[in-house]
C-alpha cells in the first residue's frame, strides 16, 4: 500500500467524523476476542473509554461515516440530500488504515462504521462489509467492530456483516411511524425492524450452534448483539410512546440497548426542527426509565400512562412512581424480597445485592445504608431499618414530593447523567 496523504485524510476525517457524531452509541462492550498470533487487537468484555470529548461523551471507537453523500432526505439528518453541507467519501482502504493506526496507538477500542446511502442500500452495505472483512482477514485485526445496517439492506448482507462485526445494528430513528412520515418520508419503522429481526434470529442461531459444538467453535455472529437508536425531541412524541416502543423492541428483538439521542440542532437544519439546545434532562430521564425496564422489572405502563404521558423532569422516574404508589411502602430492608427492594427510590441493583449479602450477618441500619452511599434524604421515607421506622404520616403527606426532590438546583444535570450511565437509581 502506498503511503496515504495524511492531509487529505485529515480533511475527510473532519467531515466524516463530524457527520457521525449525532449517533449516540459508543459502547464497545459485550464481546470477547483473543488476539490473533499474527495481528493486533482483542476484546475483553468490558469496553474502554479511551477519551472524553468536552461534551462529556466517551470516545471508545473511531466513529465515522464512510460517506456523507446520501440519496435520502431525512430532515433530522445533517447528511440529507437537500442539506448544503460539505461532502466527502473515504475509500475502504483509507478506513482500514485509519483504524489500524488509531488502534495501534491505543486511541480506540475499534471501529464504528456507518454511512450515507449512495447508489443503493446494498451497494453501500457491501462497502462497509468490505472494510470489516479486510480488517479481520488481511490484517488479522481482532479489535471491536460495530457496523451499522444501511436502511433497506438485504438479509444476505446483514448475515455477512455479522460474521465480521462484533455488533450489527439498525436504527429505528423515530419512536413511531407518524414521526418518520413527517421527517423521513422514504423510511419505514418496518424496514428497520425487519433488519432487527434478521439480526436477532442470526444471533440466537449462532449461540445455539456454539452450544452444540463444544470442540469446533462455530463462527460467531455479532457476539455483542444489537442496539438501536431513537432521536427524541425532534417531534412532539411523548415519553409514553417512546418507552412503549422501546419495551416492545426489547421484547421482540433481544436488543442490548436502546440509545436515546436528544435531537441536537444541526447546521443547515430543516425548518421543521427545533433550534433550541437538546433536551438533555429529558434524554437522561429516558435512560433512567430504560434501566427500570431492563433491570428493575418495571413495565413501561407503570412509568408513563395516559394521565402522565411524559416522565417528570424534576425527579427520577422511580421516585415519581413511588409517589404515585405510596401504598407499597415502607419496605423493610431487613426482610423484604429482592423485587421489593428494587422498587425503593435510591436503592440501585448493586446496593440491593450488597444488602442481601449482608443480611445474614448483620441487622442493617440507616447508617449502614449511608455507608453504601444510598441517598438517605430520599430513601429514608420509604424504608424500615433496624433503627428507623418512617413516619407514616410523612409518607402520606402532600409535602413528600418536596422533601425527596427539593430545589431543582440539587438535581444538577450532572447527577442525573451519572445515574443514567450507571443505572443506579
Amino acid at each position: 500500500m502506498s503511503l496515504p496523504d495524511w492531509n487529505l485524510i485529515k480533511s475527510k476525517l473532519s467531515i466524516l467524523a463530524d457527520a457521525a457524531k449525532y449517533d449516540a452509541s459508543c459502547s464497545s462492550s459485550g464481546s470477547h476476542r483473543k488476539r490473533d498470533a499474527k495481528g493486533m487487537g482483542n476484546v475483553e468484555g468490558m469496553g474502554i473509554c479511551h477519551s472524553y470529548a468536552p461534551d462529556g461523551r466517551c470516545i471508545s471507537l473511531l466513529k465515522i461515516l464512510m460517506t456523507n453523500f446520501c440519496i435520502f432526505d431525512c430532515k433530522y439528518c445533517v447528511n440529507r440530500v437537500s442539506s448544503d453541507v460539505k461532502r466527502a467519501k473515504f475509500s475502504p482502504d483509507e478506513i482500514v488504515t485509519l483504524t489500524l493506526e488509531f488502534y495501534r496507538r491505543n486511541y480506540i477500542e475499534g471501529l464504528f462504521l456507518s454511512s450515507g446511502i449512495i447508489e443503493s442500500s446494498d451497494a453501500t452495505m457491501e462497502k462497509l462489509i468490505q472494510v470489516a472483512k479486510t480488517l479481520r482477514q488481511v490484517h488479522r485485526f481482532n479489535g471491536y467492530i460495530h457496523l451499522k445496517v444501511v436502511a433497506g439492506s438485504s438479509q444476505e448482507l446483514i448475515e455477512e456483516a455479522g460474521l465480521w462485526a462484533d455488533r450489527v445494528s439498525a436504527n429505528v430513528e423515530m419512536p413511531v411511524q407518524k414521526d418518520l412520515d413527517i421527517l423521513a418520508p422514504a423510511k419505514t419503522i418496518e424496514s428497520a425492524t425487519t433488519s432487527m429481526n434478521q439480526i436477532a434470529e442470526k444471533v440466537s442461531e449462532a449461540k445455539e450452534e456454539q452450544k452444540k459444538s463444544f470442540r469446533f467453535r462455530a463462527p460467531k455472529f455479532a457476539p455483542a448483539g444489537q442496539t438501536t437508536q431513537m432521536i427524541v425531541g425532534a417531534t412532539g412524541s411523548t415519553d409514553s410512546l417512546i418507552l412503549n416502543s422501546s419495551q416492545s423492541l426489547y421484547r421482540k428483538y433481544a436488543l442490548r440497548r436502546v440509545y436515546y439521542s436528544a435531537y441536537s440542532p444541526i447546521p443547515h437544519s430543516d425548518v421543521l426542527l427545533p433550534t433550541e439546545q437538546p433536551q438533555l434532562v429529558r434524554e437522561n430521564r429516558l435512560y433512567q426509565a430504560d434501566w427500570l425496564l431492563r433491570f428493575y422489572n418495571f413495565e413501561a405502563q407503570e412509568l408513563v400512562n395516559d394521565e402522565n404521558p411524559d416522565l417528570p423532569l424534576d425527579m427520577d422516574p422511580k421516585s415519581a412512581w413511588a409517589l404515585r404508589n405510596r401504598q407499597y411502602f415502607p419496605v423493610d430492608v431487613n426482610s423484604a424480597a429482592r423485587e421489593q427492594l428494587l422498587r425503593v427510590p435510591g436503592l440501585g441493583v448493586r446496593n440491593v445485592e450488597r444488602i442481601l449479602q449482608m443480611r445474614p450477618h448483620r441487622k442493617i441500619s440507616l447508617l449502614d445504608l449511608g455507608k453504601l452511599r444510598v441517598p438517605l434524604k430520599r430513601t429514608k421515607y420509604f424504608v424500615i431499618t433496624s433503627d428507623h421506622n418512617p413516619d407514616v404520616f410523612l409518607l402520606d403527606s402532600q409535602h413528600l414530593k418536596k422533601n425527596i426532590a427539593p430545589e431543582s438546583t440539587q438535581l444538577s444535570l450532572f447527577d442525573i447523567k451519572q445515574t443514567a450511565v450507571s443505572g443506579e437509581i
Binding site: R35, I48, A53, R57, D84, K187, P267, H268, M358
Partner: protein
Amino acid sequence: MELDFETWRIEARSLLQKGVPPHLTSWELTQSFFTIADSELKPLPSPKVPKEFMELAALVACARDPQRWALLYRLIFRLNHENAKLLNVVVDEDVHKAQLLAKSVSKDIHKMHAFVRFKKAVIDGQETYVAWHKAEHYIVKLATPFFVRRFGDKPWSIFTPDGSAHWNMETLSFSEGMSQSDFEHDDPFDEVWKTYYRSIYNPARLKIKMMKQEMSPKYWSSLPEAEIIHELIRETPQRLQNMSQTEKFLAQVPDTFDWSEVKKSALSCNACPLASQATQTVFGEGNLHAELMIVGEQPGDEEDLSGSAFVGPAGQVLAQALEKAGVARESIYLTNAVKHFKWTPANASAGGGKARIHKKASGSEMHACKPWLEKEIELVKPKVILALGATAGIALYGRLVQIQKERGKVRTDSAYAKTLLISWHPSAILRATNSDEASLRFNDLVSDIQSALAATKS
C-alpha cells in the same frame, strides 16, 4: 525501599501463625516487627486465607497509601479470629476502607489501559511503540499485561515515574521509572487524532464537568488531544451561534381552502432569498379538480417573465408529450416544486450578454417552498401525481430518485396521492447529448404520462 506484596504475604503468614494481634505489629519499615513475648500469643497453625481476600489484597497492595499493609493484616487477622465471612459486611470500617482502596486501584488500572498513548518510534531499525504515563498508584506490574494481550505483535515500552514496562515480543520486563521531561518522542500522527477529537465533539452538548470527572486533568499531560480542549471550549459559543444563525426559511401559507386566495398570497411570498431575484411568483395552474397533477422543478427564464408555468422551451416539450399521450392540458393541474426562478448572470465577456443562467434551488430553498406545493395538493386532491425531474422527486419521494431506474415504477404508499410516479423533466430531454437519447427520453415521458392517465382511471 517499599514493601512488596510477596514480602507482606510471607510476613503476614508467619505473624498469623504465631497469633500476633494487629495492634502489636508495625509495617512502617520494609518488614513488619512486633514486640511481645511469645508466651502471651495464641498461635494459629494453619491460618485461612479466602480467595476473595487474596483478590482484594492484591489490589490494595498497589495503593499509594502507607496504611495499606497494616489494614491488610488487620483484615486477615479478623477473618481468622472474628468472622470468616467478614468481607460480606461491606459496611465494616476495615472492609469498607479496603474496598475503597481496591476500587481506586482498579480504576487507576482501567484508566491506564485507556489513556496510554503510544508513539511510533524506530529504535535500532525496529518499529517500536513507546508511551509515557503517570498512574496514581503502583500499578505498572498489574496493568501492563493487558498491553501484551492486545499489542503483542510489536515491541513496546511504557514508562511511568514509578517504574517502566518493556515488551520485546517474548517477555515482559520491568525497569526503573522515568520522569516526563526525560521522555522525548514525537509522533506526527497525533495531529490526525486531534482532528478526530475536534470533529467528534458536539458543541451543542458541552459538559466540561462530566468530561473532567471521567478524564481527570491529572492525566492530561500525556494525552495529545488534551492540548486542544481549552481551544474547543473557547470556540463553543461561536460555533453554536453560527449554527443557529444559518438562515432558515419557510413559506407562510394562509389557512384557507380558496385556491385564488392561496395563489394571491403566494404571489407576495418572500420567504426565501429567491423572491428578491425573480420577477414574480409562478404558481401552479390548471383544472382545480384534476385527477392528475404534474409537478415540475422550478420556473425558468420565460416562465419568470410571463408568470405562467411551463411556457418556455421545456414547456413546449411537455406540451408535445401531453398531446402525444392524449392528455388535454386543460384537464390536468400543472405546477412546480419551487415557485421562483433562480439564476446567475451569464459571463458577459464570453458573449453571454444579459442572459440569465438557470440555477438549481438549494436544499433550504426547496424546503422553504414546499408548503405551497403541499397546499396545492391538499386543494386539488389529485388521484395521481407525476413528478418530473430530481427536484420534484426529492419533494415528493423524500429522497434522491434515480429517474433512469425508477421511472415506470408506480408508488402506491405515498402520503400525497394514491399513485405517485416519476419521469424525466422535459429540460432533461432538451439537454440530452444526442438525438437518440433525446427521443428515448421523450418516448419515456410520453409513456409515463400514459401510465399516469391510466392510473387515474383505475
